[in-house]
């Protein structure tokens, strides 16, 4: 039997509330039901991002999210309650993520973890969140493991997962050239290997096509030029460039320099016109293919688009320091908007249980910067909110979308 200390009561309280919530939901609709961090005036949420350390370039996601929540508050909050968004830095270090997340849950008493960033970082708290029954909502990573409602009912992903994208690249390549000799450039970590696995699974081992070169790199590498040279010399004619912008750009430029013109697919990580293609050389990048679910803010085709105009207005007002050519600043508010939708759907029943229930009942939800036609759908057996992408080809100036929406439809 546990010793009854002040501390043990603090631990037990949220769980007790969570257990009694279903009972309370039988009551009339206007009854209020609050989980931790919720009052009549405020909802406390939080997350961890890497604002410092080697991956700090992604820290802007957290800042963009904070800006979005501020905007929501200026517009009156959600159902009359202001969002109190607390974000801590974990410097891309899983032990630090555990510490900061425990701080959010046990000290700050947040209702839910809103879009925490990173794959190893989220892996570190995966077990904890599910044990403590705290929603780990719309994690900002594309690893395939987050879609696991049975094993981890308190964790839900958001973006199309890397493995699925990899299989789609393979499908595209096979369509263009059924005997393709494929080379994959990938980052030697969780997200990179997910892409690699997806491509390999997609290529399969039935036909003539196969993956002949699996070239990895570390983020501390200076260049990936030798990997590119290696691929050309081994006869690769289909290149999956699943690298982050810096290395994706180097690869594109080097390929052009050595006059190597394979079918080239860049991943959604390295597809930005301003962040990758322009440094690589717009003419070198012509003909490159990628998959999209968000609008690239540096793509001229969206200039008059209502969603894009909303986004630039949002950035100008709430995140003026933010880089408008950085796709991460599109990701942040889109993810945050999904969190807000879940909270809105909760109404006055703001318990952790109901949060997960609503997160698993999103129907055809869209946000301004999603590609036209892409809808967010979830269900108790489908924890993949954004699961559609559309392929596009770069013509030297803009991405031209083609084909149908790929990926699964409503789950």
């Amino acid at each position: 039997m546990k010793k009854l200390t002040r501390r043990s009561i603090l631990i037990a309280a949220p769980s007790a509330l969570a257990f009694t919530a279903p009972l309370l939901s039988i009551r009339p609709a206007f009854a209020k039901d609050y989980g931790p961090g919720v009052t009549d005036k405020e909802i406390k949420i939080g997350n961890t991002c890497f604002y410092t350390g080697p991956a700090s370039s992604y820290g802007t996601i957290g800042k963009a999210m904070a800006a979005y929540y501020k905007m929501i508050n200026d517009q009156g909050g959600i159902n009359g309650r202001m969002i109190n968004f607390i974000s801590y830095d974990d410097a891309y270090s899983p032990p630090k993520t555990v510490e900061q997340t425990r701080k959010l849950v046990e000290e700050d008493g947040i209702l839910l973890d809103a879009g925490p960033l990173g794959t190893p970082t989220n892996s570190a708290i995966w077990h904890y969140m599910n044990e403590k029954k705290v929603p780990q909502l719309f994690v900002s990573t594309g690893a395939s493991k987050w879609n696991d409602p049975k094993g981890h009912p308190w964790t839900i992903g958001w973006q199309p997962n890397y493995h699925m994208e990899g299989t789609l690249y393979a499908t595209y390549i096979l369509k263009e050239n059924p005997n393709a000799q494929v080379g994959v450039l990938y980052q030697n970590d969780d997200f990179g290997k997910d892409y690699l696995r997806g491509v390999k699974d997609g290529i399969g081992d039935k036909g003539k096509a196969k993956v002949v070169v699996e070239a990895s790199y570390e983020t501390t590498d200076a260049t990936v030029e030798s990997q590119v040279v290696d691929m050309k010399s081994k006869g690769v004619d289909a290149f999956v460039n699943a690298a982050i912008p810096k290395f994706a750009a180097q690869a594109i430029r080097k390929a052009a320099e050595i006059q190597w013109k394979p079918i080239q697919v860049v991943s959604s990580i390295g597809q930005s016109v301003a962040a990758t293609l322009k440094p690589a050389g717009l003419d070198h990048s012509t003909g490159v293919v990628s998959d999209f679910y968000l609008k690239d803010p540096t793509d001229p085709q969206w200039k008059e688009d209502a969603g894009y105009k909303w986004w630039t207005g949002f950035m100008d007002k709430y995140y003026p320091d933010g880089d408008k050519s950085d796709i991460n600043n599109v990701y942040g508010p889109s993810n945050a908007a999904t969190v807000c939708q879940v909270l809105k759907q909760c109404g006055d029943e703001l318990t952790r249980e109901n949060v997960m229930k609503q997160a698993a009942s999103l129907k055809d939800f869209t946000v301004p910067m999603l590609l036209p036609g892409i809808k967010i759908n979830t269900s108790p057996t489908d924890f993949a909110p954004v699961k559609q992408v559309q392929m596009a080809k770069f013509d030297g100036q803009r991405w031209n979308l083609f084909g149908d929406l790929l990926g699964a439809a409503a789950g």
Partner: protein
């Protein structure tokens, strides 16, 4: 190589015990006893999360002590201790998850594995000095995450995904929860190992270690087997940091290659210097610094957290170039001088 102080005492000079003599109780022992009593009582008043942080502080302190033994007391420079920390952590994780070994036995196992790795690494290290040794240890630090991610070892290490470690359950006869038990377990291990280190330093072996640091040629001329001692020190140093890594794996309940990069090595080095090179008690200050100062920097400004961290570091180094222990020593010496006038 370093101008580290010769003794590890943090307080006013107390007559050093002669070998074999009964140790006289002085102010130092009272302070230590007081600290231990406070440490034992904390879990009854502190929240789970604070306990978790304090557990990590102790773990870092132990890791820094390992580095201290090698660099502070033996003069061998290392920026590779993240590798030993990682080996310790993964030993625990693999033994527990793949082979079902109870967590208690994984800690000494981690120590043993790390001792061997450190001892063997000490062999090539014998020929290298200063920056050249730094490069060799740097190789270790870089190699570790790469080896952990290597697909050939994925069966054991879990590759890039890492391994989840089950948090130890408290013994059934104690009315405490997991966090409190982890705290006490870490406290016990830490106290035992700190006491061991203090004893080592005071022993003949310790004096040999320090002699090698201060003047290797004279030491070997006096008949000390410098090669053996240097290798042994490497082994013991790795053992300490490896045990810390094992405890770390239990506390965080997760191991992944990216947790054990060169940045961890650098943090340990910073913690060592802040606490005071050559001071055993200073390691605790170093551990506190490692955990809390980044948080402080972040709370002041998220965007410029790195800048603030750098400035805090510079401030401390300018004001206390010999670390916290050096500062305390200096302050006490001033007090003693005042008392005499």
């Amino acid at each position: 190589m370093t101008s580290a102080p010769k003794d590890d005492a943090v307080v006013a000079p107390v007559a050093a015990p002669r070998a074999g003599a009964f140790v006289r109780l002085g102010p130092r022992h009272l302070i230590i006893a007081g600290a231990i009593i406070a440490a034992v009582l904390i879990p009854f008043y502190a929240k789970s999360f604070v306990l978790f942080q304090l557990t990590q502080v102790m773990i870092y302190a132990l890791a820094i002590l390992g580095l201290n033994l090698l660099t502070g007391f033996n003069g061998q420079f290392s920026i590779g201790h993240s590798a030993f920390y990682g080996v310790g952590a993964y030993t625990t994780a693999i033994l527990m998850e793949r082979y079902g070994v109870p967590y208690v036995w994984t800690v000494p196992a981690a120590g043993a594995v790390c001792f061997m790795v450190g001892f063997l690494f000490g062999l090539p290290a014998l020929r290298l000095q200063n920056l050249y040794l730094a490069l060799a240890t740097f190789t270790l630090a870089i190699a570790m995450p790469q080896l952990l991610k290597f697909h050939g070892f994925e069966g054991w290490t879990g590759g890039v995904q890492g391994l989840v470690v089950d948090q130890p359950d408290p013994p059934s006869f104690l009315p405490i929860d997991g966090d409190q038990w982890l705290y006490y377990f870490t406290l016990i291990v830490m106290l035992v190992m700190f006491a061991g280190a203090a004893n080592l330093i005071r022993s003949r072996t310790g004096r040999a270690m320090m002699a090698i640091r201060d003047n290797p040629i004279a030491a070997s001329a006096m008949g000390i087997n410098t090669s053996l001692y240097k290798m042994l020190t490497f082994g013991v140093s790795a053992l300490y940091t490896g045990v810390a890594g094992a405890l770390g794996a239990l506390a965080v309940a997760f191991v992944a290659p990216d947790s054990f990069t060169i940045f961890l090595s650098i943090s340990l080095l910073v913690g060592l210097v802040i606490g005071g090179v050559g001071s055993i008690a200073g390691c605790l200050v170093g551990g506190l610094f490692m955990l809390y100062v980044p948080n402080i920097a972040e709370s002041i400004s998220t965007g410029l957290a790195g800048v603030i961290y750098g400035f805090i570091l510079l401030l401390i180094i300018f004001v206390m170039p010999a670390g916290a222990a050096g500062f305390v020593r200096f302050a006490l010496a001033q007090l003693a001088r005042l008392r005499q006038t």
